[in-house]
Symmetry: C2
């Protein structure tokens, strides 16, 4: 059942369960601090595709397939796939997933897409609209760089506030669980898994409003998104009457170094100190000292691949039991920024909880 809490939070009393997840990343991500946690590391970042767009589509397909495999399900068992990405007209999703033949509802939340796809999929699953749904997203350094910045061959200088788009994809499969059992595919889901597949549930979501901090520098996305992250995290803590210490981890998507410090300042001004509990996926996936990524990682695939590797695997080990996942997006296009517009940010939050049954 879906309960509204406070102004903007939804509580899922049955908590759609994370029955499977998968992550696939590129070479540079595979050389970073989270190397051991990823399911698939490509050393050839074309992923066998002829173009960067086709490479990203292949990457997204791989993550979706890994998630299905980890759930022991086939694409035919999934009723809806919620997917999106940064490419114009979200083509890595539509081309990457077209062969799966799952009813497709494209989502666009820029780099907040992983939290958005999980949120909407959770509402579908908790409400009975679906027994099983998938959430997927991706980004690719090379397709993003030429679309948002410069052709790779140009070798443009990056500013200190710039972030490095992650080549990565993550996918989660959610299944409805009620009255102590899975609503569908229970036989498949329970097999060989002990209670692993009923362990992690989506207990709350809090959708974001568009927050515009007036930033016009497309090389300073962290700053553009920090206000949105602060707004959503603050709203969720107020709505649920909780404090950062109630959670094992509060993770943002890709604020990077600049955005993270702004987030701390904004929340402190509202009397909330998240610093002890907070990590940012953009600072987790790369070693910013040695990997030359400037202010950290970014892209839909950043928070998606960190969630679908380190975070969910740590939850399965019960080393993390209650996680706020607040992915962050900058809702701009190069065209409209060149027209002098500021960059609006958004952040959607998903609360993941370990259940004991």
């Amino acid at each position: 059942m879906i309960e509204k809490i406070g102004e903007r939070t939804l509580h899922f009393t049955d908590a759609p369960r994370v029955v499977g997840f998968g992550s696939a990343v590129g070479k540079k991500e595979g050389e970073g601090p989270l190397s051991e946690w990823f399911d698939k590391i490509y050393t050839d970042t074309t992923m066998g595709g002829e173009t960067w767009e086709k490479a990203e589509a292949a990457l997204q397909k791989k993550a979706a397939e890994l998630a299905l495999k980890s759930a022991d399900l086939d694409s035919g068992d999934v009723e809806y796939v919620f997917a999106g990405d940064l490419l114009n007209q979200c083509v890595s999703s539509s081309y990457g997933l077209r062969d799966l033949e799952i009813p497709f509802l494209g989502q666009y939340g820029a780099c907040s897409t992983m939290a958005q796809t999980l949120s909407v999929a959770s509402v579908f699953v908790e409400s009975g609209a679906a027994d099983t749904a998938a959430a997927v997203t991706s980004s690719h350094f090379c397709s993003a760089e030429r679309q948002f910045r410069y052709p790779l061959q140009y070798g443009g200088q990056r500013t200190p506030t710039a972030q490095w788009t992650v080549t990565g994809s993550g996918s989660v499969i959610l299944s409805a669980y009620r009255d102590g059992k899975f609503c569908s595919h229970g036989e498949k889901l329970d097999e060989h898994s002990g209670n692993l597949r009923r362990q992690i549930g989506v207990s709350h979501i809090c959708a974001g409003k568009i927050v515009d901090m007036g930033i016009t520098d497309a090389n300073n996305m962290g700053a553009a998104m920090a206000g949105a992250a602060a707004d959503t995290i603050y709203r969720f803590l107020e709505d649920t009457d909780t404090v950062p210490d109630d959670y094992d981890l509060i993770v943002t998507g890709d604020l990077g170094m600049v955005g993270t410090s702004i987030l701390y300042d904004l929340l402190k001004a509202d009397g909330v100190d998240v610093e002890k509990k907070h990590k940012d996926c953009g600072l987790m996936i790369f070693d910013t000292d040695t990997q030359d990524v400037h202010a950290g990682g970014s892209g839909c695939g950043c928070s998606a691949s960190v969630l679908c590797s380190y975070i969910l695997k740590k939850m399965r080990k019960r080393e993390l039991n209650s996680v706020l996942f607040a992915a962050t997006g900058a809702l701009m296009s190069p065209t409209i920024v060149q027209q002098g517009e500021s960059i609006p940010g958004i952040s959607h939050l998903v609360h993941l909880t370990n259940y004991s049954d």
Copy 2:
């Protein structure tokens, strides 16, 4: 309550009600056959914006405001807005709607977006995740032309199968209605409206799969989308065990002349004849004999502005009582078509029903 029917259809037993809707279009659309039905016709297609992208954002904002006004609601009464468009990174939605401060879940379904936003909003409202939600989309001839085809100044020749992107936007406000009353804002919604605001409900949705007919000509979108429309309409009729004669109108989004004739052929091969009941928004909004639009209108704003004017107004007059709205989208980008890929289509279907209470 949400009931699953057949393979892919959802039945909403309480049927989220269309409590308000609004449409805004450009000059050419205002000179077409549906002229009298639109709420707002701009004669200056810049809508006061400095660029075509800002013009489209203004257009989308206008439709959302008209819908709110027609529902007697403020933006603060709306819990979620589901919106998307054709522009890179869906910027007409994010920039058009950022001032409304409504939690924002961006949707991408290309020209099927109106049906997709209505579908997802319906699930949120019927499930209790929201009492009130908005669905919005738009397209603009000038922003689409330069992004997908050529700069306007180039004056490129159009092929006979090409369609004319509609400058238009439509918005619907849905509210939860249960046990004979609105779940929220009942006082506002019932005031002065008789039972108009409880009359039209979303009774079913059927989400689309990605269907690729192998079309590689970006000037023949109707053909690329026809297979998806046929697939979804056929699926819905099978799932609900109904025939075209059970409906007053079966309307597709923007198949145009070419796509419409392919739709008839594909459905006839499956033993379904929709011809007598079918219209296509792309052929309704323009007079193809006199308005020089070649195969008809297209764009997210095509089906959105026709739905939110002619169709919903005819329903309120009870001249139409049961309508299948199957918007159609081509999930491609110019980049990936230039790379030789075929164009996948999608079609989401929404069944709108007049209720007597």
